[in-house]
């Protein structure tokens, strides 16, 4: 090791680098050997890393590395493992009856957690992430159910859907009384007001309640039942409660009666496995509206 031109700092007795600023000279304090070696080793390590792991971006892909490692493949393996770990629990879910799931806190928690994620992936686009619904898409948190709100009924609706084309799907629709020429304009307005009166909403001035009742009896009772209480067999909503799928104002009602309604709920059987559908039914039921 060389000293610099014999330039020795008088105070410390160490050699200097010969650099001088403002009369202050820099002492020559070399790094320890192991430190320098470790530094070179990190460089070697980094080069090894480039070769072994995916590293260099190419125009439309990247170098894949010696071992073909990718974090995506890792995730796939982890997911498969997870599936295996959860196997027992999911099997228990599949085996238990809907009512038993709700009674077993552990199964209920599992079904709710699983149902929630599946709901977010599949149902949220129509029903909203929390099942709050929107115009034409039922709110699943309330206690008004077109096709029935018991656990089994909810499960059935999820499995086969409504007007979904599935052989076991719920069928039945609101006829288009205006479009099909069954009722005339003023009759539609009258019956719309009559329906509003059923749930205690205000009616148009001069509206003839008796005439409304007569039109209702002739055309609507078949589906909506006596007094308009609805019929879950046909998906006919209860007209006396405070919940309206397509709006309760006169204009909305006139539109409903004139044009008819036939919302579609897809069938999930075949798309989701039975345990998942069960979990979803329990989740929807636990949202609070279930009967």
């Amino acid at each position: 090791m060389t000293d610099h031109h014999g330039d020795i700092d008088s105070v410390t007795g160490k050699s200097t680098t010969g650099h001088e600023w403002d009369g202050i000279k820099e002492l020559n304090t070399p790094l320890p050997r192991w430190w320098v070696i470790s530094f070179y080793l990190t460089i070697v390590w980094a080069i090894g890393y480039w070769i072994v792991y995916p590293a260099w971006p190419l125009i439309s892909s990247n170098t894949t590395g010696l071992f073909g490692y990718s974090s995506r493949a890792d995730v796939a393996v982890e997911l498969a493992n997870l599936e295996k770990v959860r196997g027992d629990k999911v099997a228990a879910l599949g085996a238990a009856s809907l009512a038993d799931i709700e009674k077993d806190p552990a199964l209920l928690a599992l079904a709710r957690a699983k149902g929630k994620t599946v709901f977010g992936d599949n149902c949220a686009p129509c029903h909203g992430s929390g099942g709050a619904g929107a115009k034409g898409f039922p709110n699943l948190n309330d206690d008004d159910w077109l096709w029935g709100g018991t656990l089994d009924q909810i499960m059935q609706t999820i499995q086969f859907g409504a007007r979904s084309g599935h052989a076991k799907a719920h069928e039945g629709q609101m006829l288009a009384f205006g479009k099909d020429g069954v009722l005339k304009g003023d009759e539609i307005v009258t019956v719309a007001n009559y329906v509003r009166s059923l749930s205690g909403l205000s009616t148009r001035k001069g509206f003839d309640a008796a005439k409304g009742e007569k039109i209702f009896a002739e055309n609507c009772i078949a589906c909506h039942g006596d007094g308009g209480k609805g019929n879950p067999e046909m998906g006919a909503p209860n007209l006396t409660d405070k919940i309206w799928l397509y709006g309760s104002d006169e204009a909305s009602l006139i539109e409903t009666i004139s044009q008819g309604r036939a919302g579609v709920m897809p069938a999930w059987e075949g798309r989701l496995d039975p345990a998942t559908i069960k979990a979803m039914a329990v989740y929807v039921h636990s949202l609070g509206g279930g009967k």
Binding site: T2, E20, P30, G288
Partner: protein, 488 residues
């Protein structure tokens, strides 16, 4: 004007510079004295705590771990004697870290690098490894001779080296072993470890800590303190002129002379220093420096040079503590003929102590008043409120109940708001419909979906506060949480 540097000089110098230096082997000599005794004592204490603490038992009742200090990662619990911490209480560790950091500052402002010299794991284990080395290979002179020997590969020498490294590895392995015992029931894990039933991760950790202990304490030694540890540099910024540091009192030591000459000169009435230039202080130094050159980054302030010099002073009949804990102010003052002053109570130390007391006090208070029953409530956001078919309004909440006690509890939940609120927990058919009851097993949390309904005629305002009462039916302990009841 500044002297300008000729650029050619710079390049020519750079090209010739040594890029690195090899580690200079240090051969610290054994020494006896006050500070050595303190160091032995602290070493025994620290290692004793570290190696045996996992075996201390603590009865927490059936089903709960009976290890006094346990970091239970799978169940997210931390046990420390009578304290049991949950993940929500991780802030206790923040408090602990604050106290630890300020305690380090306080030590530093009182007595310099006390931590480095006496308590730091690097110091403690290196010291232990040196003791082993000395026992096997002999003291400084012998070791130097053996290393220099032109014929080192004699059987005797080889067996010595093998023995030394075996003992080192044994200590290192035990160090790694003790580490994993903090994360699992110690006696069980020991059994599993020897029968190779323990989880892989335990062996991996033992391997890692064996390797680091062996390398850091056996080979890196003082290099860790000088080149790898940031603390010397930080403490240099924290210290002040009153902090006591291991100091060579050059006012007393200079001018250095031999023992004989000193006696002669003193007889003639001339001033001579007490330092007899025997290099004992250098020989014992574990970082291999000469403290007589003044305060240095490398000095970990272990005080061993004090012991070494004290022994010399006793032998030549001069007063002790030519090297001692002192500060530069006093060296100045003595030279000016003034009495030295020591000031431990000063703004800095008072402030640090106050911070420690305050943070420690808050932690003790919160620990003492910590409840064993807790409730967190989260309002559903989507939808915030639902109108039911009869016109009543319902809000849904996610309620998380924490039972931190060692027994199962029966809990009743009420929601107190403006109107006649009714409460229902999904999944529970309660006998008391407005006051759902539920059992929470000991040492666990339960998450419930709570539905709160206001009747149609109550007409609550847009948003009104609700108070949730969670009552332990048996003990009467109550936890509360507030949220809002919202109308559409």
């Amino acid at each position: 004007m500044n002297k300008t540097v000729n650029p050619n000089d710079l390049t020519s110098n750079d090209d010739n510079g040594p890029l690195y230096v090899a580690q200079k082997k240090v051969y610290p000599q054994s020494v006896s004295g006050t500070f050595r005794r303190i160091k032995w004592g602290l070493m025994a204490f620290c290692l004793g705590v570290y190696y045996f603490l996992p075996f201390v038992r603590w009865n927490r009742g059936i089903g709960a771990p009976s290890q006094a200090v346990l970091i239970d990662l799978p169940n997210s619990r931390f046990y420390f004697f009578f304290i049991e911490l949950w993940p929500q209480e991780i802030y206790y560790f923040t408090g602990l870290l604050i106290v630890a950091a300020v305690a380090l500052f306080l030590m530093n402002s009182v007595g310099g690098r006390i931590w480095c010299g006496y308590l730091c794991p690097q110091t403690v284990w290196t010291d232990l490894f040196y003791a082993v080395e000395r026992l096997v290979e002999g003291d400084r002179r012998e070791r130097m001779k053996k290393d220099k020997s032109s014929d080192p590969m004699k059987l005797e020498r080889i067996s010595e080296i093998v023995l030394k490294h075996s003992i080192w590895l044994l200590i290192a392995w035990w160090t790694g072993g003790a580490w994993v015992l903090y994360f699992n029931d110690a006696p069980t894990l020991v059994k599993e470890l020897v029968t190779f039933q323990a989880p892989m991760i335990a062996y991996i950790w033992i391997g890692i800590l064996t390797a680091t202990t062996y390398v850091l304490a056996g080979f890196m030694r003082e290099q860790v303190c000088t080149y790898m540890c940031p603390w010397p540099r930080i403490q240099a910024a924290l210290t002040d002129e009153w902090a006591l540091n291991v100091t060579y009192r050059y006012d007393r030591g200079e001018k250095r002379t031999s023992v004989k000459k000193a006696i002669e000169l003193r007889a003639l009435g001339e001033h001579v220093g007490d330092c007899v230039d025997c290099y004992q202080c250098v020989a014992v130094c574990p970082t291999g420096i000469d403290i007589r050159n003044g305060p240095q980054l490398e000095c970990i302030q272990c005080g061993l040079c004090i012991d070494a010099c004290d022994n010399v002073m006793t032998k030549i009949g001069r007063p002790k503590r030519l090297i001692g804990y002192d500060n530069d102010i006093n060296i100045q003052r003595r030279q000016e003929g003034k009495a030295p002053v020591y000031r431990i109570v000063r703004a800095r130390t008072v402030a640090y102590s106050a911070i420690i007391a305050a943070v420690g006090g808050i932690m003790i208070y919160t620990l003492a008043t910590r409840s064993l029953l807790d409730v967190n409530v989260l309002h559903d956001r989507n939808p915030v409120a639902v109108r039911l078919s009869d016109g009543s309004i319902r809000n849904a909440y996610t309620v998380r109940l924490l039972n931190k006690s060692g027994y199962d509890r029966v809990i009743a939940i009420d929601a107190n708001g403006p109107a006649n609120l009714t409460t229902h927990v999904v999944g529970i058919d309660s006998v008391t419909p407005d006051r759902p009851m539920i059992v929470i097993p000991r040492d666990s949390t339960s998450e419930l979906r709570l539905l709160v309904t206001a009747p149609a005629e109550s007409n609550p305002e847009k948003s009104v506060p609700v108070l949730f009462h969670v009552t332990d039916i048996g003990l009467g302990e109550v936890a509360t949480a507030t949220d809002n009841f919202v109308s559409p």
